[in-house]
């Protein structure tokens, strides 16, 4: 199956493109809306908000999630906040500036029109969430409070203590549950997507496995939305949840959905460092901490063993403030992460592993008092204390970068449709708005923009455009469903049959894959290392196919789930390496050692100002590259400087 990449961006001035789309779109009359079924997979910010909003319009929505409840998706763990161009602090913010910061923060590797629309929608998101009863932080005046985040010089981040993601998700979840109560949304908890079903060239359904019973099911619809999150777990250790996985997007990719920019992975600078091989995941310390925390390492290696408080001010290297005086500790994540890696590579990393830097709040505590710091970050400080058994009010935190977010994902056009007609992708699952690096507090914004304010229009347009065909209902008895279900069942049966003679557990192979991806496809990538990665991944694939141990149990079986997801990670890891290998420039989160100038990443606009969209050609095969040339009519790509 081949495809043509058409971005579908409307004509006209940047600020009017989305209005033009809405003016030209096809509508569906209220009586006909009842005749359509929309499947939404995932109940994070993007999926939950899309499902609720589409149901309100009158469509029949089937909402699927892998958890017991639609309130648990990993959006819930986002701590710091959500950006919006409200400009309440009167500090020079505007839709244009949020657009500009996001395009620049993404290192000029995203589509202008999408990013502008995101900035436009941002203000409505805050109004929407407040109307749901989201308890954002407020000033004594009763107005909403703001703080600043990395990559911006204005305060445009709205927050609910250190639990912004939780509060926004519960807002979307509550709106979704209202529609469930009305009977417009049918919930399918504990359901994992294992395939998408194409009928006559259009996506008309999905195959799922019910996790708690092992039951494989077919579900038909008229359009399918995937909002299944990112693929950071391909690194094994990441800040992602245990159940976050790439299976849904990978299975769609196998069926022909192009995969966009897989090598754009965000390594977040402020995580609690790795402490041993038993760890299953890493914990993020919100970027908002960099508002008040100062990042440093000792200037002299002989000070490494000393207690940080005994090291005098003049012997500390506040390396971000030193190298980037105008943004200081608030440089974007990719810049902060690379610099932390560099000082550790120089041998100035702190802690037992030597792979950590200090994040110090003593200045803020002295300036504002402990109670002010506690009010802003109390839950984060508590979390740090619980994990490390150290008190961050007394001594600086030790932090190190960890995999956090994936900018890459399913390639989508302006309407968020993948290259599979009738299959849309939203939130972290798509590749759309963050280019090669996402700014802090922009993931929540994008997820909700996609779900509340884009999909309700573009899904309607899709259904309206293809009404004649889509009003003819497809039954799950259709041979395409039968064939897809058989493939799913066969794959499970093969895993279990092989598992009887295997020796290594899925987690053992998974951990090894994590080491390969982190070491060779992590913060610094080079030609030699990427080729080694591809070889090592092939060996692990062989191990997976021939020597993986599994128990013969098709009911609730976490090991089987891990095994299934690992199979997709192995193929995806190979694609990430292939993408990273072909992109010989450095941009955003993708740092090629060969491409730098004066110690800073060097982009190559002449050869790489495009989005890479990969076409699947089979397991172990090289994917085929398609290019969507990025056109910059409103901003001029320049060297990204935070100095």
């Amino acid at each position: 199956m081949s495809f043509e990449l058409k971005s579908g961006v409307p004509e006209g001035p940047l600020a009017q493109k989305w209005d033009k789309y809405k003016a030209d779109m096809k509508l569906v009359n209220p009586a006909n809306k009842r005749k359509y079924t929309v499947i939404v997979v995932g109940t994070g910010l993007a999926g939950g908000s899309a499902a609720a909003s589409l149901a309100e319009l009158g469509y029949n929505v089937k909402s699927f999630c892998i958890h017991d409840s639609a309130r648990r998706a990993h959006s819930i763990a986002a701590q710091g906040g959500i950006n919006a161009a409200k400009a309440y602090p009167n500090d020079g913010d505007s839709v244009w500036r949020l657009f500009y910061d996001t395009i620049k923060g993404g290192d000029y590797r995203s589509r202008e029109a999408n990013v502008y629309r995101l900035a436009q929608n941002s203000t409505s998101i805050i109004d929407q969430c407040v109307s749901q009863g989201v308890p954002f932080a407020r000033e004594y005046s009763g107005e909403l409070a703001n703080r600043s985040f990395g990559g911006a010089q204005v305060s445009r981040t709205f927050y609910a203590r250190g639990q912004t993601g939780q509060q926004l998700l519960l807002g979307a979840y509550s709106q979704l549950m209202k529609e469930v109560d009305k009977g417009k949304v049918q919930l399918f908890p504990y359901h994992e997507l294992l395939d998408v079903v194409m009928v006559d060239g259009k996506c008309r359904g999905i195959i799922t496995r019910e996790i708690n019973t092992g039951k494989v099911e077919r579900h038909a619809a008229d359009v399918v939305i995937m909002a299944t999150g990112g693929y950071g777990r391909v690194y094994y250790l990441s800040t992602n949840a245990m159940n976050a996985n790439a299976t849904a997007i990978w299975r769609a990719h196998r069926r022909g959905a192009a995969f966009g920019n897989p090598c754009y992975v965000q390594i977040h600078p402020t995580c609690i460092p790795v402490s041993g091989t038993h760890q299953a995941k890493l914990t993020l310390m919100s970027e908002s901490l960099r508002n008040d925390g100062r990042v440093w390492v000792p200037k002299k290696k002989e000070d490494l063993a000393k207690a940080p408080s005994t090291i005098p001010e003049e012997d500390r290297d506040y390396f971000l403030e030193r190298k980037y005086p105008s943004f200081g500790n608030l440089v974007p994540r990719d810049v902060a992460s690379r610099n932390a890696k560099d000082v550790c590579d120089e041998g100035r990393g702190v802690g037992a592993s030597g792979r950590a830097v200090y994040l110090d709040f003593s200045a803020a505590i002295k300036r504002d008092g402990e109670s002010v710091v506690r009010e802003k970050y109390g839950n984060l400080f508590d979390m740090y204390h619980e994990i490390t058994a150290e008190n961050p009010y007394k001594s600086p935190m030790r932090i190190y970068p960890a995999v956090h977010y994936t900018m890459g994902g399913l390639w989508v056009d302006y309407s968020l449709q993948t290259t599979l007609p009738g299959l849309f992708a939203a939130g972290e699952a798509n590749f759309s708005d963050h280019g090669a690096n996402r700014l802090g507090a922009s993931a929540l914004m994008q997820g909700l923009s996609d779900g509340y304010f884009i999909l309700p229009y573009t899904i309607t347009n899709y259904l309206g455009t293809h009404a004649t065909e889509l009003l003819k209902k497809v039954e799950t008895s259709h041979p395409a469903f039968e064939q897809a279900e058989k493939q799913v069942r066969d794959e499970i049966a093969r895993l279990i049959a092989n598992g009887k003679k295997g020796k290594r557990t899925p987690n053992e192979i998974f951990k090894e894959l994590g080491l390969v991806t982190w070491d060779y496809v992590g913060m610094a990538r080079d030609d030699k290392g990427l080729k080694i990665a591809i070889e090592k991944i092939a060996k692990l694939q062989h191990e997976y196919d021939n020597n993986m141990l599994l128990n013969d149990d098709q009911h609730l079986n976490t090991a089987l789930q891990t095994a299934q997801r690992l199979g997709d990670y192995l193929e995806l890891a190979r694609l990430i390496a292939q993408d990273a290998l072909h992109r010989t420039e450095s941009c955003g989160g993708h740092f090629r050692v060969e491409s730098q100038q004066d110690g800073e990443a060097k982009r190559d606009d002449e050869h790489f100002a495009y989005a890479a969209a990969w076409e699947y050609k089979g397991k172990g095969q090289d994917a085929i590259l398609h290019k969507e040339q990025l056109v910059f009519e409103n901003v001029k790509p320049s060297t990204r400087s935070y100095k």
Binding site: A77, Q128, R138, N243, A389
Partner: protein, 269 residues
């Protein structure tokens, strides 16, 4: 690099007594396991991960338990550890518990949440969908997606907003139910009712919310509140039982309100 860290951490012996149950229909039983050389810096769930690796290699069925974010916010993890919901640490979920909180050689009993409204699916996994149905009954404002007044058009006093946030911090884990001798869901239900009662956005459907959510809570088979305060002690987010008092007020106010009875009257729906 992930591999370079050489740890000098201490280890301990862990003795476990774990509830095993194949399916909702099967009778359950306790099984005992011993693990040597458990690092004290391991989290409790990482210790269970290790146990499961061991069981898988021995050809035995691993222990099913739920967890997801492993940073105390998603509310997925749910274990009764030696009789305490989420274990011995106040204000923390099971996934935030570290082995350093236990003594070497101490027998640790692990059970699923015990409540009629939370049936066991397998081993330590329970079905908490009753919470979703309580939420469905009214845990929302009527706001639809679309244009709304500017977010600053309606001012909300900071203290009210902060108190609403205190209640909204509930993660829906079910520890309150598990800890309560009556298996009451009052703390969970009251947290949502209180959040929306404190904020002006929740006011238009305030009475309907209180009546319907309380009715659903009863219908699911959760017990009543007898002010034992076990829920507050077990809550990983330290949700206050003051919320239960507010819920009772909200319920009473709604129940005796004649205009409500005549107007909407679907409290028992």
């Amino acid at each position: 690099m992930q591999t370079t860290h050489v740890t000098t951490a201490k280890t301990m012996i862990v003795r476990l007594k774990i509830w095993r149950q194949d399916s909702p229909k099967d009778a359950g039983r306790f099984e005992e396991y011993t693990m040597d050389n458990v690092l004290i810096d391991m989290s409790f769930l990482e210790m269970l991960d290790e146990l499961n690796e061991k069981l898988l290699k021995e050809g035995k069925r691993p222990v099913e338990f739920e967890s997801d974010c492993r940073e105390g916010i998603c509310g997925t993890c749910s274990l009764m550890i030696s009789g305490q919901a989420h274990g011995p640490i106040r204000g923390a979920t099971t996934c935030q518990l570290y082995m350093r909180s236990f003594k070497s050689g101490e027998l640790i009993t692990i059970e699923p949440w015990r409540a009629r409204a939370f049936p066991v699916l397998r081993d330590l996994v329970t079905d908490r969908r009753a919470f979703d149905r309580i939420q469905m009954a009214g845990g929302y404002t009527g706001a639809k997606t679309g244009p709304h007044a500017d977010a600053n058009a309606m001012l909300v006093p900071k203290d009210l907003s902060d108190r609403a946030m205190d209640a909204a911090a509930c993660i829906g884990c079910g520890a309150c139910v598990a800890a309560c001798p009556n298996a009451s869901a009052s703390l969970f239900t009251s947290a949502k009712i209180t959040q929306l009662a404190l904020l002006p956005q929740g006011h238009p459907d305030r009475k309907r919310r209180a009546l319907r959510m309380v009715a659903q809570m009863d219908k699911e088979g959760f017990g009543s509140c007898s002010n034992l305060q076990e829920c507050e002690a077990a809550c990983p987010k330290r949700i206050s039982i003051q919320n239960i008092a507010i819920m009772k007020q909200e319920y009473l106010k709604a129940a005796i309100s004649a205009d409500y009875r005549e107007g909407l009257g679907d409290a028992d729906a």
